[in-house]
């Protein structure tokens, strides 16, 4: 079920919330939590019911193994390690089968020139997300960091519908304790107001911006190898995709945060204006932050991080990013995307070390103008690097990516292509050029300049809500605000429904 769909917004969400609070009031918090688990399973089953069993099995298996690991005392260290190994291996095996089996078969076929056949496997939606969250849980149980052991809260932590399908990748330590708090089981107008605000912003990002840029990107990325491609259209498509993926995924994440806030549970933020970054290091601190955190804590640090000198550090960075790329999808283009970011990070760290050394030698700061110019240049270079990597991320294959990149950077134009006949003036899309340019400027400004969603909602909006909450008109004012937000959400849902189905990009991962 898509967060943007009418069936979710007008049927599933009101029913789930209403029953959650009613059950909590009349049957207790545990029953309400159980209802939320059940509702989350329904949410998941709506896509393909058969994979609900896989999700349920995964939860039972990981929770049981987690309890066994936790139950082993210091005298059984080997057994604990073995249990952890078995549990992680089993998770990776399931993920490998469903997500990577065909990829490996295809790769072997390409290597040996003989077809090894393929498996007719449908990727269970959200498997990458719920596998990673549970591996993190197991590792932390092994490390003795897990305090909460309520099976209901564990099941809710994994299945919790706001994050189940496309994240954010949650950490048990920030989620399970929240499910134990009694206040989340009581409806609060303040939570509704903030939750709907996030939901509204996320929905607007997805429906008004991401889905508007998608056709322009698809036109080029989904065209056949022989299709006409001009440098302008190649750049246009890559820019469009750069905006689409940001507004799509950050919109989804905002919606997830908002949906969870309706219940009073805080989810971690996933984005913090990444296109504002002036370096790749900064970009990764602001892009898909929960994945970056997971990769850092459970992969990069596990590999040794930066504790074994610069060479190992760079190697660890590259391995982490290559695997991060592969996590996104079973395709070499994702590996290249990850590899490119690994290389960017290596160069960035090397540059930073060199710059620090130079600054020490100069012993005085650079003039302000030079610093500002440098920041501008760094911003553009970072964005360009990110865009180049997006080409591999979006392209259907390596050759398509090569074709588009060659066209983008070709001085002489794209080989074998020709423009429209003079004076024709009819193009594939009938939105006027100046409107497209204005829309691009607005979208880009929204991504780069000004406050982002959490800065808005947790900043001036929260301050205004605090004033409203302390006033005599609290109930009336909050009710009116919520009514306005819900109406705006309904309007956006209608706009979304007026188009063909547009899934969130990260549903594929």
């Amino acid at each position: 079920m898509l967060f943007t769909s009418g069936e979710f917004l007008f049927v599933y969400l009101p029913l789930t919330l209403a029953l959650f609070f009613l059950i909590a009031r009349w049957a207790g918090d545990a029953a309400a939590a159980a209802w939320l688990v059940l509702a989350s399973f329904v949410f998941y089953a709506y896509w393909l019911p058969v994979y609900t069993a896989l999700l349920a099995l995964s939860i039972v298996f990981n929770y049981t193994l987690g309890r066994w690991i936790a139950g082993c005392d210091a005298q059984h260290a080997k057994l604990r390690r073995l249990l952890l190994f078995v549990a992680v291996a089993a998770n990776l095996a399931v993920l490998g089968y469903f997500k990577y089996a065909n990829f490996f078969l295809d790769t072997l076929t390409a290597l040996f020139g003989r077809s090894l056949g393929s498996l007719n496997v449908i990727l269970p939606i959200g498997i990458s997300f719920y596998t990673f969250t549970q591996i993190a849980y197991l590792v932390d149980v092994y490390a003795g960091k897990v305090k909460e052991s309520n099976p209901l809260h564990y099941a809710l932590f994994v299945t919790y519908f706001p994050h189940l399908i496309a994240g954010p990748i949650l950490h048990h330590a920030e989620m399970m304790p929240q499910f134990a708090l009694p206040h989340i089981y009581r409806p609060r107008l303040e939570n509704f107001s903030s939750g709907f605000a996030f939901l509204l912003i996320g929905l607007a990002k997805k429906v008004l911006v991401a889905d508007s840029w998608a056709p322009r990107a698809n036109d080029v990325f989904d065209s056949t190898a022989g299709a006409t491609l001009m440098p302008g259209s190649a750049w246009g498509a890559v820019l469009a995709y750069t905006l689409q993926i940001y507004f799509d995924f950050s919109g989804y994440s905002d919606m997830a945060v908002g949906l969870s806030l309706l219940i009073g549970v805080r989810l971690p933020f996933n984005f913090n204006s990444p296109y504002r970054a002036t370096s790749i290091v900064e970009f990764w601190r602001c892009w898909h932050m929960t994945l970056s955190r997971f990769l850092r804590d459970y992969l990069y640090f596990a590999l040794g991080g930066n504790r074994h000198g610069p060479v190992r550090r760079y190697a660890n960075l590259l391995i982490t990013m290559l695997l991060g790329g592969l996590w996104h999808g079973a395709s070499w283009t994702f590996v290249i995307w990850g590899g490119l970011h690994g290389l960017y990070l290596m160069v960035n760290h090397a540059w930073r070390s060199a710059a620090e050394r130079t600054a020490r030698l100069m012993n005085r700061p650079l003039p302000g103008l030079l610093q500002a110019g440098g920041r501008g240049l760094a911003f553009m270079l970072t964005l360009l690097c990110v865009m180049v990597a997006w080409v591999f991320f979006r392209a259907r294959g390596f050759e398509d990516a090569q074709r588009i990149l060659a066209c983008m950077f070709s001085v002489a134009g794209c080989a074998g292509t020709h423009g429209p006949p003079p004076g024709e003036g009819v193009v594939s899309s009938y939105r006027a050029g100046w409107i497209t340019a204005m829309w691009f400027a607005a979208s880009f400004a929204a991504a780069v300049v000004g406050r982002n969603s959490q800065q808005w909602v947790d900043g001036p909006y929260a301050a205004a809500m605090r004033r409203v909450s302390s006033s005599a008109w609290r109930t009336l004012a909050l009710g009116a605000i919520i009514g306005a937000e819900v109406t705006a959400i309904a309007m956006l849902a209608l706009i979304s429904a007026s188009r063909s189905v547009t899934e969130f990009i990260y549903f594929n991962f």
């Binding site: 769909s5 009418g6 393909l48 022989g226 109930t475 009710g479 009514g483 188009r499 899934e503």
Partner: protein, 369 residues
């Protein structure tokens, strides 16, 4: 929670909702939201669905109000900048929204461009109605031929035209169950006052006209499973006889000779663009597509003219890499699509194509060379 609190919450929620809707209404009234494209109340002399007569309209598409066009309907409730004179001679163009013509300026429509290309010809009368299908194209014939002296009839057949005619809709013809007569009209009732009031609201017009709001759209399945492999469809029992009888009855329905019936068949343009101009026919046969192919063959066998736009659009796309429609947002033909079709029809009507149109070996339509 006390009852008073619940009451306060409900009242304030309603107030917030109403205020937001009012703000939307005020904003949308300033913008070119669809307007004026309202169904006329049924009348005994013209009982089929048509627009309100002498109505100025604004057309715009999608949520962001693209492709804005303004125009007016004539006294019969069809989009045309002139009146249809009773008992006068005319070339009749029939079709669904492709022909209705609100998506383009009148001069850029099929009928508008056809009129420009004809020499010494009577006016081109547009009877296109959004939502019409094959059953309407024949059902309309006796009504039109009773009111006008039809010289030629041009019918634009697009995807869904055969199967859509099985779905009854008030004011439209539907395939008759016993096929004798082949079609029957579903009676239309007058629009109730509440609906007439609602359609004055810009919010409602935006939702219904621009966003094409419907419950099925709103509650559609939100996650698509991987594309299913092609299972080629076949015609169902009775389809062949229905199409044969249709092709046979068309000239009589409009009171013209078979040679003066021109059927234009649209291409599968999704496939055309997907294949970069290599193919413009259905990759996976459907019942509707098979019926339209059969109709083209039957029409030709009965001496009618069948124009297949697939090779023409494909040649144009290969030569220019420009689309003949507003896709991917809207699949209606744009000025180019209409121009290519009008040129083909004009060749037939002007007597320049006694035989099926011969094209340049390059594959380009004549007018592009």
């Amino acid at each position: 929670m006390r009852l008073a609190t619940v009451f306060a919450v409900v009242c304030s929620l309603t107030a917030g909702t109403m205020l937001t809707l009012l703000a939307c209404e005020a904003l949308l009234r300033l913008l070119p939201v669809q307007n004026g494209l309202f169904a006329a109340d049924p009348s005994s002399d013209w009982p089929v669905h048509h627009l309100m007569a002498h109505s100025r309209y604004t057309f715009s598409d999608a949520w962001d109000l693209r492709n804005v066009h303004h125009g007016a309907t004539n006294g019969m409730g069809y989009v045309a900048p002139f009146e249809y004179l009773p008992a006068s001679a005319g070339i009749v163009v029939v079709g669904d929204s492709f022909v209705e013509g609100v998506v383009n300026e009148y001069a850029d429509t099929l009928q508008g461009q056809l009129a420009q290309r004809l020499t010494d010809a009577p006016p081109v009368l547009n009877f296109g109605t959004s939502g019409a299908s094959l059953s309407d194209y024949i059902g309309l014939g006796p009504m039109v031929s009773k009111s006008f002296r039809v010289q030629w009839v041009v019918i634009l057949v697009v995807s869904g035209d055969f199967t859509d005619a099985f779905t009854p809709q008030p004011g439209f013809f539907v395939w008759s169950p016993d096929r004798t007569p082949p079609v029957r009209l579903i009676p239309q009732t007058a629009t109730d006052p509440a609906t007439k009031f609602l359609r004055t609201l810009a919010v409602v017009r935006y939702a219904k006209g621009n966003l094409k709001l419907s419950l099925s759209h709103l509650l559609h399945t939100s996650v698509t499973v991987a594309a299913r492999p092609c299972v080629p469809a076949v015609l169902q029992p009775g389809d062949t006889r229905l199409i044969e009888s249709y092709a046979d009855s068309l000239p009589a329905a409009y009171g013209v000779a078979a040679a003066h019936v021109i059927l234009i068949f649209d291409a599968d343009r999704q496939e055309l663009y997907r294949s970069n101009g290599a193919r413009a026919s259905e990759a996976c046969p459907t019942r509707d597509g098979l019926a339209r192919q059969l109709l083209a063959r039957q029409a030709a066998a009965h001496g009618e003219r069948a124009i297949d736009m697939a090779p023409i659009f494909a040649a144009y796309f290969r030569a220019t890499h420009q689309r003949v429609d507003y896709s991917p947002i809207d699949w209606h033909w744009n000025v180019v699509g209409n121009r290519l079709a009008a040129s083909e029809v004009a060749r037939v009507v002007n007597g320049e194509a006694a035989e099926p149109p011969q094209r340049d070996p390059s594959g380009l339509p004549e007018e592009m060379n």
